[in-house]
Amino acid sequence: MPRVGVFVCWCGSNIGGVLDCPALARAAATFPGVVYATDYQYMCSDPGQKLIAEAIKEHRLDRVVVAACSPRLHEDTFREVLARAGLNPYLLEMTNLREHCSWVHAGEKELAQAKALSLIRRAVAKALRLTPLHPGRVKITRRCLVIGGGIAGIQAALDVADAGIEVVLVEREPSLGGKMVLLDKTFPTLDCSACISTPKMAAVAKHPLIRLYTYAEVEKVEGSLGNYRVTIRQKARYVDHTKCTGCGTCWEKCPVKVPDELNFRLSTRPAIYLPFPQAVPSKPVIDARHCRQLTKGKCGVCQKVCPAGAIDYTQQDSLHEEEVGAIIVATGFDLFPWEKAYGEYGYGRYPDVITGLAFERLVNASGPTGGRIVRPSDGREPRTVVFVHCVGSRDELKGREYCSRICCMYTAKHAHQVKERLPEAKVYVFYIDIRTFGKGYEEFYRRVQDEGVIYLRGRVSKIYQEGDKLIVKGADTLLGEPVTIAADLVVLATGVVPARGAEELARTLGISTDKDGFFQEAHPKLRPVETHTAGIFLAGACQGPKDIPDTVSQASAAAAKAVGLLLREEIEVSPLVAWVNQALCTGCLHCQVVCPYQAIEVVTEGGRRRARVKEELCQGCGSCTVACRPGAMELKGFSNEQILAEVEALCR
């Protein structure tokens, strides 16, 4: 029979002013299993703590009930007292005489006294059934995986590596850089996007602690917090990058010309190519879908001309395994596929109706036109340019319900760029609301208006080609009139959606996505860079639409979280976790279905299937215990037996 000690606290007059604490102690002393009971003015004070520790030794107590304030306040304090007294800290049970009794029932002392006794009886009943628990410890692999090499991934990788921790960075395109490297200038300061992002790309490539995989994808993730085993598929490049010097002879000589996807078909590129001049790594890959050698078996030009002998048409995809302790996801975004949804804007059939990203390429000095703003259809400079906000955003009918957060600002930037390069041009912007909530954003918007850009409040209903003009039918709701503009170029402020493949990646990683497909953060305000899965963090537009300042802030925050975790030798995991009574488990796996943390695995022993809890993943919610019909699943610290004992004690 366990030996329980009960310690009733007065909390000065907080409890003592309402309840008769000595009487409570006297009554508690008569409960079965209680070998010692006392009361004291302030249990949490130094003398109070000492009193408990000494009583434990003196009365050989092996269970402790503290009847005082909320366990949310002082459970840790009293657990430490137990530990100091040489007792397992989980042999403590608190009961809440202050918040749940004396403070709320001050007017009914008699009933309060009865309730308090009942609460102590409950605590004793539970205490009798407590068992010693030991927090698990896991050693940590001090390496970090970063998925996605846009500005978010780059920043996170650099921050983690600069803290002295090895990083594995996986980017699925042939080069690092993401969307940012395609942009011309960045709002609101208008600094050159490539000028500020390419040095970071180069820093990644040079960093001794960063292992870079480009043209690669994460295929499988096993293990858990602190110890993940990651399988990476390196796609065949047909170029041996250990030999290639990046001399460029091959891509100059390749006879193939295919539309360049990065330039929205405004230009062409060869089959062996560097995505853009500042690419990292600055070594080419062969696009197997278009290479004549690989599709038809004849050409071989690049192999002949390569001075380094780097071309290898027989190369295959290869798999690589990496061990890491934490993962940062930074897979970014894609543009809303407006060509599939907006028939009233022509489904992408009019060459001079383009997206904002295509406009970035047009206006970019390293883009297909060398930075001249011209119409894709005939190469002429436009005299009237119309911008249309919220395409694919704030549109429950054809697009997404949410606001994409960047398009108001990038459109203001584009409007400014048109005015700067083509001062004579007329520029109209159709908007619903202008959202300029960043530092310096509203000022930028006002400046663009000063430059003569005309903002019209109304959505555009239809765009169609008439001769070489685009007829834009919009409205000016402030005047209450329909407006028709004959434009030369129309730029759609296309919204933001999660990067292609985000759902599959979420499944591979065991993290969740929100209703729009962005990765779900653990808490929208207080844990915005963590996921519900410990050890996996989020950075950038993959968590929700974001501009560069927000992306970079979040990337550094994710890095800080990852570093904070990885700098520990090992981590302690709470012992209040589920466990399976193997004798009762029927292997039905009802528990696995409800677990929000994928913490339940299947083990097969002697042909019998059973559930097993991965303690390092279990967060101790207890949902599985209820799902389990035979009662095989138990939660330590909140077992069925303990709770039922509490129920009985309270109902007496």
Binding site: S70, P71, R72, L73, N96, R98, E99, H100, C101, W103, V104, H105, A106, G107, E108, L111, A112, A114, K115, S118, L119, R122, S512, H532, L576, V594, P596, Y597, Q619, G620, C621, G622, S623, T625, V626, A627, L635, F638, N640, I643, L644, E646, V647, E648, L650, C651, R652
Partner: protein, 146 residues
Amino acid sequence: MSVKEWEPKIVAFLCHWCSYAAADLAGVSRFSYPPNVRIIRVPCSSRVNPQFVLRAFAEGADGVLVAGCHLGDCHYVKGNYYARRRLWVLQRLLEFVGMEPARFQVHWISGAEGAKFAETIKEMVDKVRILGPNRLFQEVKDICVG
């Protein structure tokens, strides 16, 4: 026990993260409510096994309350959705066997809603007081708990 002395006895299963915190806040704010409620702390409303509720009634509780985080705010992502589904089934079952719905209530109370907690208890105690002692389960105790 004579009818005159009878006081409703209510057992409340409260989620550590929300409703238990709400009860703490009610205390800190001195929002008084009838002392008829006794609280059992659970990590999440999804930890509440319908069996616990049945046992409470069988042992003589006049009312049982389960409270957790608002839907969508669960500390464990979706525990309260599971709880809602399970407890809804239990509510139907109890109604079916003839128990007044007011005796078994499920509420979503956040850690900031101390006043709501106090209100909820007041209302529940009032209702159960009107219903009188819970006799139903005394009779079927053996069947339900085994």
